[in-house]
Symmetry: C2
């Protein structure tokens, strides 16, 4: 079955606001953006769908990499110097520019979610919110391919990509 | 910023094949489909993007809930008897019908991935493959809201939704 001619239309249901306005200085993953706060502004039409979400400590945000224009099948990831297949990376330059970030949910006020560990560019269109359910998500015996060869220190240095919390009065957070 | 008028077009890059042909008997999550094998057939145009993926033990599949026609803002999840906000559930009946499953990668042969723990309906359009990276995905101190009140036994019984591996010569797998 060849499905590459099948298109699907999705729509933004809100927007992510964050202190990240410069793509080249935006951490590549939530773990490299510890403590960085942002907000998710859900369109009011969908507010009813937020019921019961406040009991979850972590949520997945699904969004559009709307500033990634190029599509590549191999890329040099930020954490490595070798080219890797795009599906073995989390690079935005993928065929369908959908990003996933696992962030900490701090609070919900009406249609506005305050979240932490935000690695998402300001103004990013939101597609979905899903709860992180420990029972569903936990895996043992995980092998992470080329990522396993990158040391934690190197990953931290390269993953932050020069991000400094200079605009944050709490200053640098090196936890 | 109101973004609900902004549409994004994505395209299928392949298809998921699985033994699940009856939505009412399909496990609701990979953890309730342990050992169930399926295949991901990537369109040949994208095969180059699979390089280096074989080093990863687990991958996320992103796909379209193409048989979910209704959209609801509150639903009764399979694991519960109370109605919950759609964003506090993993129900397919969400505003943007994008599903995520974390599956075990068994092998890759050219453009065909063999995967395990498949909770995805046969013929589902694939949108993306992302590596599961232990460093990025692991969280501590997780609270899972209403899910924490569902016992593991009840979750297992209800989450499998009557699925039995009758067509699988290995028979029932109750691990």
């Amino acid at each position: 079955m060849e499905m590459s001619d099948t298109n699907f239309v999705f729509h933004a249901i809100g927007v992510v606001r964050s202190p990240h306005t410069d793509p080249s200085r935006t951490p590549i993953q939530p773990v490299f953006a510890r403590g960085v706060r942002g907000t998710v502004i859900l369109d009011l039409d969908y507010m009813e769908g937020l019921a019961d979400l406040d009991g979850f400590s972590h949520i997945y945000l699904l969004y559009v990499f709307d500033r990634a224009e190029e599509t590549l099948l191999t890329v040099k990831p930020f954490l490595d110097d070798a080219a890797r297949g795009i599906f073995a990376t989390r690079s935005p330059l993928r065929p369908n520019k959908i990003g996933i970030s696992l962030v900490r949910l701090v609070s919900i006020e009406e249609n506005v979610l305050t979240v932490e560990d935000v690695d998402i560019l300001d103004g990013t269109p939101l597609l979905d919110i899903k709860p992180y359910v420990a029972r569903f998500e936990t895996r043992e015996d995980v092998r992470s391919g080329w990522q396993d060869k990158v040391s934690d220190d190197a990953a931290y240095q390269r993953g932050r990509r020069g991000f400094r919390r200079g605009r944050d009065p709490e200053g640098e957070d090196d936890n």
